[in-house]
Each structure stands twice: as C-alpha cells, then as structure tokens.
C-alpha cells in the first residue's frame, strides 16, 4: 500500500553544461554534510504515517542503526505504541503557555544526543511560544544542517501551495503550513496511502485521532468526496516529485528535451490578502511548466498604511520562500511598470487578480488595470485569477486606512467650509469672480497635504459652494449667464488639475526624498567603513550609523577563533541567554530574533555578518520604535550588514597579512641567528672532537704535557659552548618577553664580588678592578639581571681589547640613579659603529671571531627590563666607556638602632 521512490544517487557521465555541473556538485557536497530527510506523506490524519515511520525505524534499528525518537504522536493507539518499544526516546521539553502544559520536541537535547537518525513526527506543527523556532520544520532544518538524518510525517493539506485548495474543497482553513521548499529538499518521500473507504471505516471505529469535542466537526471533514480529493492531491504531489526526479535524472544524463519550457511567469503582488492565493496559483503553474517566476509589486506613490505595507512585505516574503524572484518597481502607472518589467525579463505569462474596482474610476483611467494590461500585453498571456475575500484577515487592515482617509476628507471639508464662510461674510467687498480665486487657492493649499481623493472632493465641494453661494442668482445651482457657466466649468477643471498635480508632485518628491536618504545613509556608511582601519572603528561606525538610522541599540559580536565575542564598543549589552542566540546565528548563518521566524519573541533582531568567504560575527539590533521591518528597511539593513561583514573581512585579512609580515621578519632573524650560531658552535665542537680524537688515538705519541694541553683545549671549548648556550637562552627569554625582574634589596658589593669570581680566570690576561663609591646604599633591583648586564660589558671589553688592557668597573649613585661604568684603555670604538653596537648580531667589522654578536644586545635587553638605559662612548684619552644607568630605590646600608652590644 505504500509507494516509495528514491532520488537517484550518484550521477556519472559527461556534462555538457558547466552550470548544470556546478549545481550538481553543489547539491552533492551539500548532501554529504547535510542529513537526509525522509517524509512520510499522506492525504490526511489516520492513514498510518506515524505507524509506517516507526515500522521502518524498528527495521533500521535491527540492522544496527542509531535510531532515536525525537517526537512521536501515537495518540494512544496501542499498535503504534507497541512500535516504540526498544527505541531510544528524547524526553520532551515541558513548557507552560497560558496555563496549559505543553510537551514540545527538545531540539537541544536532540542536538546533544546526535543520533544517526532522528524521528520527528508532525512536520507542520507550530511550536509553543518561546521555543527557538516558530515551526517544527525549522527545527528539522537545523537538525539536517547539523548532519542528522530525519524521518518525519506530513499531510498534504499542510503543504503551503495546497492549503488554499484544501480550504476550498473542505471548507476547513489550514493554519499550520510547511513551505513547499521543505518537501522539495527531502531526499525521499514515502506516500502512505489507504483507500478512502477504509479510512472512513477506521474513522467510524474511532481509530482516527480527534481532539475532545471536535469529533462532530471532523465528521463533516471525513466525507468520501473530501477524502478522494485530498487523496488525489497527495498522489499528484508525489507524482510531481517523480517527474522532478526524472527531469533531474535526464538532465544529469544529458537527455535533452525532457523539460524546456522557456516560460517565465510573473505574478503581480499587492498588499491584498488575496495576493497569497495568487502566489500559490502561480507557484503551481510554474511548477507544472517547470518555469521560473517573478513576484512583482509596483509602488505607485499612493499613500499606504502601516498595515498594508506590512502585509505587502509578508506577501513578497512568502513568494520568496516559495522560490520566486522579488522585484519592486516604482511607476505612476502600474500597468506601464508591469509591462516594462515583462519585456525586460522576457516574461511570457502574467498572473493578476481580478479586482473589485470602482467602475467610475476605471472609466476615468481608461479601463480597469486588468483591461489595460490585456490591451497592452501583446504576445504575453495574461491570467486573471478570481479572488475570494478571506473574512478573518480582511476587515482590520481596511479600517485603518479609511480612518486616515476619513480624516483627510474631514480636513478638506472643514477648510473649504471655513473659507466659504469667511468669503461669504466678505461678499460686500469682493466680486464673486475674485471669490473663485480665493477658493482655488484654498484647494491648491490643501493639495499640499492631502491625498488625491480628498483634493478632488475639495475641488468639487468648492465649485458647488461657489455656484450656490456666490454666482448670481445666488442660493441656487442655476447659472444665469453663459459666461458664468463657462467660468464655473473652467474653475472645476482647474481645481481638479491643480489639486491632483500638486499632490502627485509632492508624493513623488517624498518618495524621491526617502530614496535619497536611503542612498545617502548607505553612501555615508560605506564611505566611513572604507576609511575604517581597525575592527574597533568598523564596529563603532556600525553601532553609530545603524543606531541613528533605525533608532535602535546596536551590538556587534566579532568572531574570534570560532567564538563570538561582544565588541566593547557595542551600545547594547545582550544577556547571557541572548548570547546563545548569537552563537546559533553565527553557526547557522541565518537571521534570528525579532522580525524573523526563529525566536520571533526576542526583543533583538540578529543578523549574521557573512560574506561569501565566511562569517565574521553577528549584528544585534534592538529597535526602539519600529513595529515591523518593511522590505525596504530590511534591504537597507541587509546592505549595511554585508558592508560591515565586508569591512570586517578586509580587516581580518589585513591582520593576517600583518601577521605574515611579522613572521617573515622573524624568519629572517632566525636565518641570521642560525648562520651566526652554526659557525660559533662548530669551532669549539671541532676543537673538542679533534682533541678527544688525538687522546684516543694510541698511535700518537703524546707526552704528559701534550696530554694536559689537549684536555685544557677541551675544557676551554666546552666553557665557550656553555657561554653560547647561555647567551641564546637569555636572548630567547628576552625575545619572548619572559624576563620579569624580581627585585630585592641588593648590596652592590655582593654583585661585584660575584663578578670578580666569575672573571678570575680572565684577570690574568686582563686586570679587572672593581670600585665602589663610599657609602653605597642598598638598592632595590633584580641582582641576577644586574650582574649579567655588567658581565656582558666586561666580557665585551675583555674580548675586544689587546692583552693586559686594564678594565675598570665602577658603581656610583647619581641622584636616584645607580650608574655602572665599564671602562677600558683599549683602542676605542670605531665611531660609525657606536649607534649599532647594541643591535642584535651586530659585530664591529674586522673584529676577531668568537661571540655571537648577542652580548651587548642582551645587556640592553636586561637593562631595559630594569627600566634603565645603556650607552657607549669613546674616551678622549683613548679607550671605550660603557655606562648603565638604572633608576632605583635605595636604603642606607647601615641600620639605625642596630648598634647592638658586642659580646
């Protein structure tokens, strides 16, 4: 009884069309990441969809698949309940809404459990308010996006494009609908079908679920005629899917001519609720013809109420959801606008609604919209679809515009009446022809504020009043003289023409102004963003501009290593709960929150900051006043969003580039380091190797003294190697910023005595004297860093001066600075080299090898760590002088009150 068909799997063969190939690749790669969706599809409740789904789940479970029940409506049927046995279930989420306990599917638990296959019954279900998504099919979409396979169930009447027809057939309005695209994206559809008579039997036996108290109402629904029609529809939807799959297959196999309609449809969409039916109708047509379609709307410059605008936006969004391209035109004449668009886009068929137009107005305009469309259509087919008024939604939207319209008429009436009264009082002073001029003036003034209808009304009223009150014979509508009759006619025409023209100019101007301000906002934003050089600046601009234009509080979350971090420049501080939404938006790259279908109860509107290459953060906007987002505003916000995203992307890339440059610099540094070091290491290593080799070689006749000399060489070389390692370690500690001084109270004498011990071996060749100023206080400094800084200076002097050159080290206090001077009697420094001495790897040209060129730069590094400075100079009497200057705290080196009695 079940008919299954599967989409063909992988397709092979040559591909003629690169686009086709691309879309193929795209759909394949998406399929790999996305979970697969299987829909158990039926004509109505009671056909056994849930049962069929659970049956298959049990089968897969036996085969060893990880199947979990996310949500299943068994409606207490024992045979269905029995099928749940042995399957893992995700506990439902309990919520309360208006005192009702509601068990909802828990999407977070499902995502946390991550089964291979999840069963989620009732795809069309509307979630309880406060859930993450409005509709369950959105939950399912998210599950699929996360790579979880989903089985679900759906009745044909819940399909968006079929719901209107179902209502026509059964008289039952369907509120819970699912966009057709969801079904289109399903890989498998399994039609669950039983014969209508069997279904009716099951209903009679009470095997079909019905909520309390609705059984009687359902009786009207479960009639053979209804069920047959629904069954036909369900079969047709499935058959269409077969067709679609066949076409896909033929396309992939290069079989031509299977579809090739070349047809393009266009549907004219207005704020009318009837447009929904038109859109559904067009979708079905486009589907059967396999044609693309456009939903067009024309802004004529007429005033529209807030409600109308909201509904138009909703209509267009619906069309977009159903796969249409959306075009908004601006034209005074809708017919001309639509025809222009049709010829531009090679439209072959236009769908319009049959309007209930005012005959008189149609006559003035030269026929109704439909009449004129047909007249100018040429070779385009026009479909005129009859609309029926949907009672629940129509009245409220009409009432409000009338109120404002009524206000306009009242204003027109009032102004003209007052003007007439004043002029009537002034009759003795004015000729009745001048009165006409005054009235005309009043009409023109009114046209600056009022709509066309009210202006026409004012013109007519003023003409009649003039005739009645002023044209002789007065107080009659009779006009005695032919000349007066002529003037009256002229007056009437002039009043109408001036009035309508003025009002039209004004409306156009307003439209132009609003579009200009939109363009200006965009321009100023993009200009500001273009000059923004840091992420901070970009965020500040975004927060400022969007906040000003939309009167809103704005926050920006910037993606950092797959985490979204609130930028401190944000004007809005979302709560922790909201940050979960931000994460969701960043991960799914879809808008959420207010004015969207995901979490619409939130006060904040969230948009992902994405470009084609990736996501860079999330924009959060809390509108202070905006009751809803018009398509215009949404487009503007979208534009802002993509500009901010592009700017963030640019900055991210430039940060990367900067990083890359830095890496290049350090690369070069390491190269120099390696070059310098490999040489420095090889020399002592060669000595050690050579000396040890000679000692081991028994054939060499070594005397005791040669023996000893060789060992001394090994010893010296290892000391040199150790010095190299020490230097490299010091340098790398400095480079990585890991040197942090640990100051303590130090006696410089201690420091000097340690240095003296350290250079004991050298003092034979280089006499080194240490000299301490008398009454040297204790200083607050890191003794290790100080000692090493001085040691490198002494080492430098010892290494680069001739033998027996005297080296003097002296410590003084100058103000609150500790001054260490290392002086030698050598040949002095080449003047050119002085500024470069403390650079890494710098070696004075022509100096003997030995040393890495790091010693002095280490001294500088350590001294700077101690917040001091080091400098080099030549002495006038010859020799070089290195000076370290360190700011230090001091304490007297003697203790007050410490004059204890000696034993």
């Amino acid at each position: 009884m079940t008919a299954t068909h599967h989409e063909t799997g992988n397709k092979t063969g040559e591909q003629p069309d690169p686009d086709a190939l691309l879309s193929e690749i795209a759909s394949n790669t998406i399929e790999e990441k996305r979970g697969r969706l299987k829909v158990f599809f039926g004509m109505c409740a009671g056909v056994g969809k849930t049962y069929a789904m659970l049956q298959e789940a049990q089968m897969l479970k036996k085969e060893g698949m990880d199947v979990v029940v996310g949500h299943a409506e068994t409606h207490g049927r024992p045979e269905t309940e029995a099928l749940l046995a042995g399957l893992d279930r995700i506990p439902s989420r309990k919520t309360r809404y208006r005192g009702l306990r509601i068990d909802e599917f828990d999407i977070d638990a499902a995502l946390a459990r991550r089964p291979r296959l999840l069963l989620v019954d009732e795809l069309a279900h509307t979630n309880a308010p406060g859930s993450r998504h409005v509709k369950r099919y959105q939950d399912v979409e998210e599950l699929l996006d996360q790579g979880i396979h989903v089985y679900t169930t759906l009745n044909v009447q819940h399909l968006e494009s079929r719901s209107a027809t179902v209502r026509e057939i059964t008289g039952v309005a369907v509120r819970e609908t699912v966009p057709d695209s969801v079904l289109e994206k399903a890989q498998d559809i399994e039609l669950v079908d039983i014969s209508p008579s069997e279904l009716l039997k099951r209903f009679e036996e009470g095997k079909v679920y019905a909520p309390e108290g609705t059984r009687q109402a359902l009786k009207n629904f479960f009639r053979k005629g209804n069920i047959t029609a629904l069954r036909e529809m369900a079969l047709r939807v499935t058959a269409q899917r077969v067709n679609q799959n066949l076409r896909d297959y033929m396309r992939s196999k290069k079989i031509d001519g299977a579809w090739k309609s070349g047809e393009r449809l266009m549907v004219a969409v207005s704020a009318s609720p009837f447009s929904v039916q038109l859109i559904g109708w067009t979708l079905r047509m486009a589907d059967t013809m396999n044609a693309s379609w456009i939903a067009a709307t024309v802004e004529t410059g007429k005033r529209v109420s807030v409600q109308q605008s909201a509904r138009l936006t909703a209509n267009l969004r619906l069309a977009q959801e159903l796969g249409a391209e959306i075009v908004t035109l601006r034209a005074d004449d809708p017919v001309a606008g639509l025809m222009d668009l049709a010829s531009q886009r090679n439209i072959t068929q236009i769908v319009v609604g049959k309007p209930a137009e005012n005959r008189f107005l149609s006559w003035i305009r030269g026929g109704s919209l439909v009449d004129r469309l047909i007249r100018y259509s040429g070779n385009i087919d026009i479909y005129v679809v009859r609309g029926d008024v949907i009672p629940e939604t129509t009245p409220p939207p009409r009432r409000l515009p009338r109120l404002t319209l009524g206000g306009q008429y009242a204003a027109a009436f009032g102004v003209i009446a007052v003007a007439a009264a004043v002029l009537f009082a002034a009759v003795p002073f004015f000729n009745y022809l001048s009165v006409a001029m005054f009235l005309l003036f009043a009409v023109t003034v009114l046209s600056l504020w009022l709509g066309r209808g009210a202006v026409l009304f004012a013109a007519a009223m003023s003409a009649l009043l003039w005739n009645f009150l002023f044209i002789p014979p007065r107080y009659t509508f009779h006009i005695a003289r032919f000349e007066d009759a002529l003037v009256f006619c002229l007056y009437f025409i002039i009043a109408i023409v001036t009035g309508t023209l003025t009002s039209r100019i004004r409306i156009n101007k307003e439209a132009v102004r609003s579009r200009e301000s939109r363009a200006a906002a965009l321009y100023s934003m993009s200009r500001a963003l273009a000059s923004a050089e840091t992420v901070d600046a970009i965020v500040r601009i975004a927060v400022g501009q969007i906040g000003r234009i939309f009167d809103a509080e704005v926050a920006v979350f910037v993606s950092r290593k797959s985490k979204s971090v609130l930028h401190p420049a944000s004007g809005l501080r979302p709560e922790e709960k909201e940050e979960a939404v931000v994460r969701w938006v960043a991960e799914n790259r879809k808008p959420a929150g207010r004015f969207t279908d995901s979490l619409p109860l939130s006060e904040i509107h969230y948009r992902p900051l994405t470009t084609r290459r990736g996501g860079y953060g999330v924009l959060c906007v809390r509108f202070r006043k905006l009751p809803f987002l018009t398509l215009d505003q949404e487009t503007l916000l979208e534009n802002f969003t993509s500009q901010i995203a592009a700017a963030l992307e640019r900055e991210t890339f430039s940060e990367y580039r900067h990083q890359a440059e830095m890496n290049a610099v350090s690369e070069k540094l390491y190269q120099t380091l390696l070059n310098s070091i490999s040489h420095e290491f090889r020399t002592p290593l060669a000595v050690i190797g050579g000396a040890a080799g000679s000692l081991l070689d028994g054939s060499l006749k070594t005397t005791q003294s040669i023996h000893r000399a060789l060992i001394q060489e090994v010893m010296d070389a290892s000391v040199r190697l150790n010095g190299l390692v020490e230097n490299l370690l010091s340098m790398s500690r400095l480079e990585s910023g890991k040197v942090s001084p640990r100051p303590e109270w130090c006696d410089i004498a201690d420091c000097f005595s340690a240095l003296q011990r350290r250079f004991q071996a050298d003092s034979a060749q280089h006499p080194i004297t240490f000299d301490l100023a008398p009454d040297m206080p204790l200083v607050w400094i890191d003794p290790g860093l100080l000692e090493q800084s001085i040691a490198h200076l002494i080492q430098n002097a010892v290494q680069h001066t001739p033998l027996r050159t005297q080296v003097d080290v002296r410590a003084d206090m100058s103000d609150s600075d500790l001054v260490i001077r290392v002086r030698d009697d050598g040949p002095g420094l080449p003047p050119d080299s002085i500024p470069l001495l403390f650079e890494k790897f710098y070696r004075v040209p022509g100096t003997a090898s030995g040393g890495t060129g790091l010693g002095l730069s280490i001294t500088r590094g350590f001294v700077e760590c101690l917040k001091g400075s080091v400098s080099a100079a030549n002495l006038t009497g010859g020799g070089a002088l290195f000076t370290i200057r360190l700011p230090v705290d001091t304490r007297a080196a003697t203790l007050e009150g410490s004059h204890e009695q000696s034993d």
């Binding site: 290892s718 150790n722 020490e726 640990r742 303590e744 109270w745 130090c746 006696d747 004498a749 201690d750 420091c751 000097f752 005595s753 340690a754 003296q756 011990r757 240490f770 301490l772 204790l778 890191d782 003794p783 290790g784 000692e787 304490r891 080196a893 003697t894 203790l895 410490s898 204890e900 009695q901 000696s902 034993d903």
Partner: protein, 234 residues
C-alpha cells in the same frame, strides 16, 4: 673501606650517568643508577642510599615533586643537577629540601666537594666543638670567634648568623631559610637587615671584605660559607 658510601643517581641521560660513575667510583663511592623518577623512588626506598643525585629534567616527573615525595619519608641528602639556571628554581629546590644544587655543566671536582659537604651534614651532630675553617675558628660551646687566632667581637645577631653558616658550612642557605631561622619572618624589609648584617659580619671576619672568601654570595639565591683548607685556600 668495608662499608662504602652508596650514591643513587637519578638521571635519564646515559652519558651523564656514565660520566658520574667514572668520576665517583674513582673516589670509592658505590653507585646505583636509575633512569626514571618512579624507579628512582623505588631504589631509594630499597637500597637506602647515603646520598641522592637528582636530575630535574626527568621524562616522567617534575624534580620538585620527586623531592617532596622523597622528603616525606627520607632525610637522605639530595644534590640536584639542573640545566635551569633561573634563581627561582634554585630557591624552590633548596626550600623544598634539597641540600645543594649544581647547574650543568659542572666539573667532577666541584661535584665531589659538594658530595662530601652534604655527607658531613647528614652525619649525626656530635657535641658542639670547635669549628675551624681557614683563618676562622668558632667555638660553639663558649661562643668565641677568632680570626687568625685573634678574638673578634660579634653582636648577638651576627653571632647567630655566623653559627647558622657554621652549622651548614659549605651548603647554600637561601635568604628565606636564614630569615626564618634568625628573624622568624621573611618580608622584603627583613631582607635589607640580612644584607646589612652579612656585610657587617664580613667586615669583622673577612680579610678582604670587598672580596670575601668565607661568606660567599650566591646571586639571587642566598649565601654559602665556603669550606677552606687550613692554609686559607680552597
């Protein structure tokens, strides 16, 4: 020697163990080897060595941890070998109970001298007799101090300080250890007293206070009373 001194080496580097075996067996020490921290602790418990040489960079444990574990049940002297020359590491080790430390590279002579010092300290304290080191002579029972036979007058604190050095002669004492023992407190302010007392003490007992030979500074770590032969050389 009937009862040779047992030394346990805990070091994962074969080369170092080999070098130490050659150098120390020449001094008639009996060597035990261990390449890991875990095995080292087991061997220390089984063989009860007289001294342990512990390398810090072991593959299976931080040296500081091993030292702490060992100190829970053993007073065996420990000399730490380390490539780390940062002062805070040395202080941490000494405070955790190490008797001495040597930074790689080191000479065998230096190591042997340190071993002897450490072993002497582990021997049970005899009666407090007369301590002689170079020109310094301290009689702990009469509290008299002589330099080259001449009596020297010390204040009470100076004497306490000197007595601590004498009792730990040859061993590094961290600032922390000295401050705790003499002043009972370890604040930075006390540190300057220590500096001052050390320099006063040096002025009284060193022949050249600017270039001390008895009380040596271990930069950033503490002080050590250098052991000298009677003629005043090391």
């Amino acid at each position: 020697m009937n009862n040779p001194i047992k030394i346990l080496i805990i070091d994962d580097e074969v080369q170092i163990r080999r070098f130490l075996r050659i150098a120390l067996e020449a001094q008639d020490f009996c060597l035990l080897e261990s390449a890991t921290a875990e095995d080292g602790l087991v061997q220390a418990a089984m063989h009860r060595p007289d001294l342990i040489i512990l390398d810090l960079g072991l593959p299976d444990g931080d040296g500081l941890d091993i030292l702490r574990k060992l100190r829970e049940w053993s007073e065996t002297p420990v000399i730490v070998l380390s490539v780390r020359s940062a002062e805070e590491d040395k202080i941490g080790l000494l405070d955790a109970g190490a008797d001495d430390y040597l930074t790689k590279p080191f000479s065998a002579g230096e190591l042997i001298a340190r071993i002897r010092v450490a072993l002497r300290h582990s021997a049970p304290h005899g009666k407090e007799g007369v301590f002689r080191n170079g020109p310094l002579e301290v009689d702990l029972s009469t509290r008299t101090v002589r330099i080259s036979g001449q009596p020297v007058k010390l204040t009470a604190t100076e004497y306490d300080l000197l007595r601590m050095f004498v009792r730990n002669a040859g061993k590094v004492l961290t600032h922390h250890q000295i401050l705790k023992e003499i002043w009972g407190s370890t604040s930075a302010d006390e540190m300057q007293y220590l500096r001052v007392y050390v320099s006063q003490l040096r002025r009284k007992i060193e022949t050249d206070p600017a270039n001390p030979s008895l009380i040596l500074t271990e930069t950033g770590v503490g002080y050590r009373l250098q052991l000298l032969t009677t003629d005043g050389t090391e």
